[in-house]
């Protein structure tokens, strides 16, 4: 189908964008459009006005420091995927982004847009949660930082109301003695995940498991971080019982069933993917910890 009629503005500054958002009733921000335009074409959404921020300067930067990676609202997935400095600071970014859709969609879709879209089957919402990240939100009152816990309200729903533009997302750096991994099961690589898992393993100085956290994709209505430490706490990294962590994860999640997978099958995948990714993340953590 075709999108329902709407009005369109492509402001040349953030101030102009906020001005249109404040003046136009039922206005919505358009960035990469790779999630929004399908919703319009399927008539699942019909905003009165689209405010296209693609011509707003200054939103297309990736800034990676020792503290973390800040991704501007117009950074396309492909750029984050290929940014070697960002990948060094927080390896989850490239690992998760490699699972975001297909190359032609990664060329246009944005990391920040997929977070603002708040789709439970999106990868980057879970990565924002797992890394303890936040977004910057510009409103007529100024710029505020919103932590991931306060951002996601429900499927395709955030806590942001009124005229607001999410201008950046910040992902803290991978802590010392830590490793990460990300994996997904999809019916076709690049399609929406039936289930995905991202994990972070942190070791102590004696190479024993100190902390294990996981976040899932297409599981639950909003991103959540699950602490799996209890299943493996204090175990030497080489002998840690990752299957036990996977079993614990299965008891913590509450997935829904749909056309592609039952809730039970999703729970099974949570266990399998958790065990697999933890083994990889632990190997990386061990490497980063040294003997």
């Amino acid at each position: 189908m075709k999108p329902a009629p709407f009005r369109y503005a492509d402001p040349r500054s953030l101030a102009e964008a906020l001005e249109v958002l404040a003046t136009e009733e039922g206005a919505k921000v358009l960035a990469g459009g790779q999630s929004l335009l399908p919703l319009l074409s399927m008539r699942l959404a019909a905003p009165a006005t689209l405010v296209d921020i693609n011509r707003v300067p200054g939103l297309d930067r990736i800034e990676a420091t020792g503290d973390g990676v800040r991704v501007g609202a117009l950074v396309r997935h492909v750029r984050l995927l290929e940014d070697v400095v960002a990948a060094r600071v927080q390896p989850l970014l490239a690992r998760a982004t490699a699972n975001v859709a297909h190359p032609a969609i990664r060329n246009r879709g944005t990391t920040v847009g997929s977070i603002a879209h708040a789709d439970p089957s999106g990868e980057m919402t879970s990565v924002l949660a797992l890394t303890g990240g936040s977004v910057e939100v510009a409103t007529p009152a100024g710029v505020a930082t919103v932590g991931w816990e306060d951002l996601f309200v429900g499927p395709l729903e955030t806590s942001l109301h009124g005229p607001a533009v999410v201008t950046a997302a910040s992902f803290p750096a991978l802590p010392d003695r830590s490793g990460t991994a990300f994996a997904e099961i999809a019916r076709r690589k690049g399609d929406y995940a039936v289930c995905g898992a991202g994990v972070v393993v942190t070791l102590d100085a004696d190479r024993r498991v100190e902390r294990v956290r996981a976040a899932y994709v297409s599981v639950g209505l909003v991103p959540a971080v699950h602490d799996l430490t209890d299943a493996v706490a204090g175990q030497p990294v080489e002998k840690a019982d990752w299957a036990a962590a996977g079993a614990l994860a299965r008891t913590l999640v509450d997935p829904d069933g749909d056309l592609h997978a039952s809730a039970d099958y999703r729970r099974l995948l949570v266990g399998v993917l958790t065990e697999r990714t933890l083994a990889r993340a632990a190997a990386e953590a061990a490497e980063r910890t040294g003997a």
Partner: protein, 172 residues
């Protein structure tokens, strides 16, 4: 209000090297603008929500789904479509692009509906990579995995990608 808010716009898109003007409703998808407003029906429209890849074109050097871009967003951009792949030879005829030639040689198309999307995706992908580097199966799968073909199957399409990559390497 200083920012124009429109329901219709006149846009200029450079399509296959030729600047083209059109006045379009702002809700017009780039895929429809190419087909309806500019008469370039080589770009095919399949699912119209970004799943099938049939409408893939190259915008400012990157392959994108033209059903997931508004025509007004392409104002000022350079767009390559399947009509621009073949080159004219000195005798006034046309020489197929190496990717098109490989598709013909490998029987990588049957009904041809998905073919323009595959050709543009593969051409952009191969042109963006170092031609001397070995093309792995994983790379090929990643390249064509986002486009749906429901009759030829992927074996011949993957073979065509390898052949085209070899031809582009040897020709470079």
């Amino acid at each position: 209000m200083t920012v124009p808010v429109d329901t219709e716009r006149t846009i200029t898109i450079t399509v296959n090297g030729v600047p083209r003007r059109a006045t379009v409703p702002v809700r017009r998808l780039l895929s429809d603008a190419l087909r309806h407003d500019l008469g370039l029906t080589g770009t095919h429209v399949g699912c119209e929500h970004g799943v099938c890849g049939a409408c893939t074109v190259v915008v400012d050097g990157a392959a994108v789904r033209s059903c997931l871009v508004l025509a007004v967003q392409a104002d000022g951009a350079a767009v390559e479509t399947v009509e621009g792949l073949a080159r004219e030879d000195s005798g006034g005829g046309q020489v197929l692009h190496p990717v098109q030639e490989a598709f013909r040689e490998c029987h990588a198309l049957q009904c041809g509906f998905c073919t323009p999307g595959f050709l543009m995706t593969i051409t952009a992908g191969l042109e963006a990579r170092d031609p001397s580097a070995e093309l792995t199966e994983e790379e090929v799968d990643e390249l064509v995995g986002g486009n749906l073909c429901r009759c030829t199957g992927y074996a011949n399409i993957r073979k065509a990608v390898h052949d085209a990559a070899a031809a582009m390497r040897d020709g470079a």
